[in-house]
């Protein structure tokens, strides 16, 4: 086989994996710490894309500034959802599942009412629409950009949860809510901020996916399945999600090269099912301390 074909498959695998990771990161945080199965995650991604579209089209904000702004705005939406709904349901996981699913429908229809159902698009700076020819491999600049943003988001998330005082509080609440409370940690506020960060990460993901794809009220649905796949097979932890995304991205790329796209997806779903049959707790996850 031609070495440049193999190499471009590997490079593409990294890119696909980083897209999976960006989509899954917010979900992993919310699920991993608060234990909330957030069915509205895809719609938070969609909100991020619409936020970018709105900022860009109506206020003329440049694309790069839209990324942090999308984080903030969708994080605020996340806070609203958490305060109004999810904080009352922390002890009822099945109900949060239904409630967040309801939220997803409300968000989808709400956006449709405001923006209509015709597709919108996010304009990218011209250099992001070019490519980089390295002789043996040819990579699009936008894909490199997504990988870089993914790396940045992972680092920021890791730093927040493992190197700050807030991170210690979050991990304490995750391990034992009552014990943490007895040390004076406000668990309600911790959950709220975690949910906000998770929602904000979905917002950044949406801002980027708007550049790769099309902005539609229904766009979130196509990302949420993959995001859940990564989080569940990763075991709900940050490292597990990164490993699962990287591995699945490579598999997707390699199988698509050898066979075709449809069959590649079939193989991946099959592999995930078999994997979870023998290791239901996922790649990295203790599995027994879930509240």
């Amino acid at each position: 086989m031609d070495p440049s074909v193999v190499l471009s498959a590997l490079v593409l695998g990294i890119s696909i994996g980083s897209i999976f990771l960006v989509a899954a990161l917010g979900l992993a945080i919310i699920y991993g710490t608060a234990g909330v199965i957030n069915m509205a995650h895809g719609e938070l991604i969609m909100l991020g894309a619409y936020t970018t579209y709105t900022l860009q089209t109506f206020l003329g904000v440049p694309f790069f500034l839209c990324l942090p702004l999308s984080f903030c705005i969708v994080a605020l939406v996340g806070i609203a959802i958490e305060r109004l709904l999810i904080q009352h349901l922390y002890n009822r996981p099945l109900d949060t599942l239904l409630a967040t699913w309801g939220v997803s429908l409300v968000l989808m229809q709400g956006v449709r009412l405001i923006f209509g159902s015709d597709p919108k698009y996010v304009q990218l700076p011209a250099f992001l629409s070019t490519n980089l020819d390295l002789g043996i491999v040819n990579v699009s600049v936008f894909r490199i950009f997504v990988v870089l943003v993914a790396a940045l988001l992972v680092f920021a998330t890791w730093y927040t949860f493992y190197r700050t005082r807030f991170g210690i509080m979050v991990r304490a609440v995750t391990q034992n809510k009552e014990m943490a409370a007895s040390f004076g940690i406000n668990s309600g506020k911790t959950y709220m901020l975690t949910f906000a960060i998770g929602a904000g990460l979905a917002g950044v993901a949406g801002a980027m996916f708007g550049g790769l794809n099309i902005v539609l009220p229904t766009m979130g649905m196509s990302y949420v399945v993959e995001a859940f796949l990564m989080v569940v097979s990763g075991g709900g932890s940050l490292l597990g999600t990164i490993l699962a995304s990287g591995f699945t991205g490579q598999m997707q790329s390699i199988f698509a090269f050898i066979f075709n796209d449809t069959f590649a997806r079939f193989l991946i779903f099959l592999m995930v099912v078999i994997f979870l049959r023998f290791r239901p707790q996922g790649l990295i996850g203790s599995g027994d301390t879930r509240r």
Binding site: P119, Y121, T130, N131, L132, S140, Q252, A256, D261, R265
Partner: protein, 435 residues
Amino acid sequence: MSITRRKFLKTASVGALALAAPHVWLPGNREAWGATLTAGEPIKVGLLFSLTGGLAVPEEDSTLVMQYAIDEINAAGGINGSPIEPVIVDAKSDFKVYSSKTRELILRDKVTSIFGCYTSASRKAILPIVMQQDNLLFYPTCYEGAECTQNTICTGPLANQHSKDLIPYMVDQFGPRVFFVGSNYVWPKESNKNAKVWLEQANGELLGEEYIPLGSSEFGPVIEKIRAAKPDFIFSTVVGASDIAFHRQFKQAGLKVDSMPIASLTTGEIETKAMGAEFGAGHFLSAPYFQALENPTNEKFVENFLGSPYGKNGTTHYNMEETYTSAYVFKGALEKAIADHGIEDVTPRKIRDAAAGIKLSADVSPEGEVWIDGENFNTWLVPKIGQCQADGSFKIVKEAPEHVAPDPYSIYPDIGKCTADGLLAPDGTLRTDVI
């Protein structure tokens, strides 16, 4: 009396069968249309498109343009003095809703015809009901053919008309080596079968054929395969949001539009608007209609439609225009049926029979003169090839010299030929209601 398992199963299966019986459709078992038209009273038609969900992008426009056409017809005096009254339903992009709403439109609202559907899957979901009730479906978009029902009229191009000019044109302009990319469902696969026939006649060479799951937005592997194959052009039947992702990633991956353009059957004005004109510029589309067509009827249609409350999405496109013409085919056919049978005796089936040969002149149809085939009830039309410009509009680069005949079984001569009464097999047997 004790209930044994066997007795229970027997009773349950008989019960289930009895419950299902009215819903099981057997060919030849048709219900009469339980309504009559009265002179001066409104004529009800159903508009069965998705206003919400994944299919809403093209189908919402179909509903809007139908309302526009109906207003236009009513303002001009209706049909023999009767106004058309649309019954608008939202099919919610859900095939179960398509079929339940079809039943509702026919049985409760007693519509004379249904205008609806965009995907082949939804059409196949509702046709058994339309046929059982002997109603009439106007299917106003392109499709793959290989169907022969006595209850459908289609105003879009069939697979045998769609790519007939496009493939030889592209081979002539760019070279013989081509790569096929499509969404993974029936229409792209059947369209590609037709395209292969034209490709062989043009001495082209097929380098590869790839299908992407519907709705997928990851074209990385396919684009790398295309890069490795180095085709002279790409033939695309990718639909919907995927099509937009494909064009964007094509440019982002550094493929060049002037040396390897995409020749598409789907990427029209609405798609180029959604992807951003810079991603669409230079690529080709084959369709019977473009917003940029220069004729007085189209100029009037574009101006009036975009100025009306229904033109809120800001563009016209081929799917929309095919829907618009279907309203006028309905008008022509119904007027003929009334003249032939008298208004009290008109049924949906008689409207369909009257549609044979109905011609829309160039001052009604924005794409130019079209007419309905008297045997298979698809449309004779002139496919055109447009190239997308930097502003997202299309420039017509080629127009077929004459009308192209629709033939739903052009690549399956062994199966038969679609006639007005049914599918005529080579051995002389006639089958009705073939889907």
